[in-house]
Amino acid sequence: MFRDWKWTLLTVAVLIIISTLCTLAMTLFTRTLIDGYILPLSQEAVPDFSPLGMALLKLAAVLLVGVFVSFFFNFLMIKVEQGIIKQLRGEAFDHLMTLPLRYFDSHSHGAIMSVFTNDMDTFRQMVGRTLPHLFSSVITLISTFASMVVLSIPLTGLSLICAAGALVVAVTLSKYSRRYFKGRQENMARVNGYIEEMVSGQKVVKVFSHEKEAENGFKSVNEDLFKSVFKANRVANTVMPINAGIANLGYVLIAIAGAYISLHYGPEVLTVGTLVSFLTLHKNFSRPIAQISQETNNIAMASAGAERVYELLDEKSEPDEGHVTLVRQSDGPDRNDFFWQDNGKLVPQQGLVSLKDVDFAYVPEKQVLYDITLTAYPGQKIAFVGGTGAGKTTITNLINRFYDITDGKITVDGFDVFDISKPSLRRSLGIVLQQTDLFSGTVMENIRFGRLDASDEECIAAAKLVCAHSFIMRLPEGYNTYIGGDGGALSAGERQLLSIARTAVADPPVLVLDEATSSIDTRTEKLIQKGMDGIMKGRTSFVIAHRLSTVRDADYIIVLEKGRIIEAGKHFELLDRKGKYWELYTGGSL
């Protein structure tokens, strides 16, 4: 990441050194001013100020260079810091998109989002501010120290003692405060947790008129947080004044010691100008020490953020070792134009999907599917039936490799799904999920999400096909109506229709439909039914069925229980068997 910026960073480092030296020149000039000009000039009868004028002009030139150099390196750092973070954000998001679904299952959305915002921002601050500060502090420290040694060794010793004192205090206090900071973080998490839970359940709080209790509960956690924040900040807030106090004391001690040395041993050992310069140098020397101790806090924070960013980047991408790709020979809407391309060989896409002895577990110790064997012939409609947790959705998630099977084999048109490249596999399978995630944008953009190069006409045709056209036309701005990510003003049924239209425009050879269980009013439900029928025509389709009407026209019904296929067949065959299906159909629901 930093490699791309190697030369820029090197330039910055050089510029920082130059700018620090220019600042040092200013400090040291005080000495020349007093010893070299003011004192001799006071002795002269007719003082000639022109050498001083020349010296000041020279100084001005040096300082001007310093100003430009520091402006320039800061400007470069802005580019570096923002550039790095832009690159990092982009890379992280690219990577996020390649991660397997397991990652999204096991990480909360809030946590993932905070990687992209909070963590990246603290990291950026470290790159842009903390690191250059630290570097220039170190340079200042070294160059100031060198100048101090040149000016006066005994005073340097004294200054060092003060600096060491400040350092000891800072380190001790920070050890001390770290304990409090931990307590603060814990209490902070507790308060946030309480807020999260209680405010999310606020309606229940109201229904039980539990407001007073909730308030008291909150008061007590809030009070605890206050105490620990107070303790932590009390320590943290005293670090600065103590450092400043020590610096002040050191300043005074040096002034006294310097005056004493100068008077006692004469100006050959220490001149007035040297002492005045030294006093400023001492200030410059103790400031970076305080700064460094402050910055360590920031670094700790930023590295925690950076760690989370890198954790994300280190997550393994979805494997994709497949070489068979899906190609379309013409632009026509005819589905027979799809071909599988295997090492240059073209095999027509038909929609023959077959599972053989498939086992699956999300986590090794908890198997959810056992010995699933089934075949869907081209154009067939297969319905999955069974209770929650029976494994209906899981099976469809295996066909498009959202998850990989633990054992067995899944083939599409004879190719093992592991041999088909993932993008091609997923393109060949259109899925209408129960959870209808739409994206912020217009209705048209949401439909076009299915196929990015679809024309407006094609999108509208798809909407008509799935019976979504009429409700879209009733929206304030028709197809150009803007909808928020949560679907905003759309009802659950309308969102469902839009997501079906989205799949329709993608025109996939094989379909997976997860029927919504959420209660949708009768009229919309009929529309959705018609919409789904519209796109299932002539395609191999898998339907996770919650409605008997869907099941009845299926070519093949698969009844699942606890991860196993317990019955399979056509509607009337299954009814005749008087088994689980019959039980569900007659007893279970009515």
């Binding site: 809030n222 004044p241 310097g258």
Partner: protein, 561 residues
């Protein structure tokens, strides 16, 4: 107290360079060692006192900033408690959570900084100015010139950058939005193979942020050179004029030294002051969002002298109309319905037909827009909140259990309930599974009840409501995850064990409401029909439709227990 300590600390700090001047002039330049000791001692004393003040100021500002955040959170939390459902809806619960956590944290940081700098920096400027005027009036004109120039320059820089930062904050929302949608919609993205498309969208948002950030920082970057040029220029001016004045005898070397120090102090304080504005811009958005919560008047209030007891479980809707947003589409219109105490009412109808809305009016979770709802013969608005909500038990569609033990959760219904009573309530709600839990009633419920199944959660929520001994009990689709047999068992127990409680059951399943005394069919905010199952089958086409769909292959519930 914090500002006072800070002020004292600043004043002490300002004195040190002044005394240093005396030490140099009267001691060093005059060759007087006694003066060195004298002024040295004074300076040590001042430095020590200043250190003390500094520590006190740090401690006090820690107290005020921590206290500030505590009070802010508490005020917000208390305010949220007074919110009606409508108020909560308008903020959204997740919005309220963000405001109470992230926004408060932002404001607390800003406050602490303000506390630290807003007193110190202006005081430093004033005290520094005063001291330099005192030392040498003519030479301090250099300061005035420098200050004026710096202030004007900083004003332009800050005001320009504030605008860019404000814009930046808005664009951050866009960035968050893309990430949120990308994460939430990952299944859709992956199944349509749209990873690249999303990445491009994200990168576009990142690019906007990048450009704005660079623009803002570049403007801010002018601070440094402006500050440096002003400092250096005035240093050089001080050196030049100072040298003249010293040679003239109107200024001493020591005084010149202290002027150098004051000048640094003043200019760097100005600089800090300017940075505050920039940083505060970033917390303005948070402050606004917090103020929205604090300023929101609860849309529902108790009337003075409200009735504290609901006499019986009768309910009457008198020509009720209701809409969620003022002037918005009516969710209910012209609903009139009268329910006797102890009657069992089933409610059915499509999504958006107004079933939940109707029952939410009974316990005054929302106020009617027109007409009136009466419970026990009085308008619900005439009761205290406590009275109406104790009398009407509601099991919400989106119900929540809280982290804590099962017992603690049940006692939300009645804080004084004994374990025996809690078990009894569980039996009524067919939640006897609690006895089989590893720790029984003491079993810990995870946040949101994650360690229980959907059906178990629903039954516990019913038990919790039963413990209130309500006169009216509303079950809003509360047994959707419970299997049909258990569902039937619950209804049977209710009929025999709490026959006097008025019962309203909303369900998608005809089976769950078929045997109610009366069934209300809702359609598009209206009552479309009222009657028994048989009557409605005859007279109501919607009911007949639903029945036929459910019996002959419409909605069937394959979901097993």
């Amino acid at each position: 107290m914090a500002p006072v300590w800070t002020a004292l600390e600043v004043l002490m700090g300002v004195l040190i360079p002044y005394v240093t001047a005396s030490l140099i002039d009267e001691g060093l330049m005059a060759g007087n060692l006694d003066a060195v000791w004298k002024y040295g001692a004074i300076m040590v004393a001042i430095a020590a006192v200043s250190l003390f003040f500094g520590i006190m100021s740090g401690r006090e500002s820690a107290r005020s900033s921590a206290g500030f955040a505590m009070n802010l959170r508490e005020a917000m939390y208390a305010r949220i408690q007074t919110f009606s459902f409508a108020d909560i809806d308008s903020f959204s619960t997740s919005g309220l959570v963000t405001r109470m956590t992230t926004d408060v944290a932002n404001l607390q940081n800003a406050f602490q900084m303000l506390l630290r700098i807003s007193v110190r920096a202006p005081l430093n400027v004033l005290a520094g100015m005063f001291m330099s005027f005192f030392i040498n009036l003519r030479l301090s004109l250099v300061f005035v010139a420098a200050m004026v120039f710096l202030s004007v320059a900083l004003y332009f820089i800050v005001s320009r950058s504030m605008r860019v930062f404000a814009e930046l904050m808005r664009k951050y929302d866009d960035l968050n939005n893309v990430v949120r949608e990308g994460v939430a919609g990952i299944r859709v993205i992956k199944s349509f193979v749209r990873e690249k498309h999303e990445s491009l969208k994200f990168k576009a948002a990142v690019d906007v942020i990048y450009r704005l950030n660079v623009a803002a920082e570049t403007i801010i970057n002018f601070n440094q050179p402006v500050m440096n040029i002003v400092t250096y220029a005035s240093m050089i001016a001080l050196s030049w004029f100072g040298a003249h004045f010293i040679v003239d005898g109107t200024l001493t070397t020591g005084q010149l030294t202290s002027l150098f120090t004051y000048q640094m102090q003043i200019l760097s304080s100005l600089m800090m002051l300017s940075m505050i504005f920039v940083m505060l811009t970033q917390s303005v958005a948070s402050a606004k969002r917090i103020a929205e919560v604090l300023d929101r008047e609860p849309s529902m209030k108790e009337i003075p002298g409200a009735i504290g007891e609901v006499p019986d479980g009768s309910i009457e809707f008198r020509n009720v109309s209701f809409s969620y947003a003022e002037g918005g589409n009516p969710a209910l219109e012209g609903v009139s319905l009268s329910i006797r105490p102890g009657e069992r009412i089933g409610l059915i109808g499509g999504t958006g037909s107004g079933k939940s809305t109707l029952v939410n009016l009974i316990s005054r979770l929302y106020d009617v827009s027109g007409g009136a709802v009466l419970v026990g013969g009085h308008d619900v608005r005439d009761y205290t909140f406590d009275a109406i909500r104790s009398a009407v038990g509601v099991v919400l569609q989106k119900n929540t259990l809280f982290s804590g033990t099962v017992l603690e959760n049940l006692r939300w219904g009645d804080p004084d309930a004994t374990e025996q009573q809690c078990r009894e309530a569980c039996r009524l709600a067919a939640a006897d599974f609690v006895d089989e839990l590893p720790q029984g009633l003491q079993t810990i419920v995870d946040q949101g009840g994650a360690n229980l199944s959907g059906g178990q959660r629903q039954r516990l929520c019913i038990a919790r409501a039963l413990l209130r001994h309500p006169k009216v009990l509303v079950l809003d689709d509360s047994t959707s995850a419970v299997d049909t047999a258990t569902d039937a068992r619950i209804r049977e127990t209710f009929a025999t064990r709490i026959p006097d409680t008025t019962l309203l059951i909303i369900s998608q399943r005809i089976l769950s409401i078929k045997d109610a005394d009366r069934i209300v069919v809702m359609d598009d905010g209206h009552v479309s029909g009222v009657g028994t199952h048989e009557q409605l089958l005859e007279s109501n086409s919607i009911y007949k439709d639903i029945f036929e769909m459910q019996t002959s292959g419409g909605e069937a519930d394959f979901d097993q227990p």
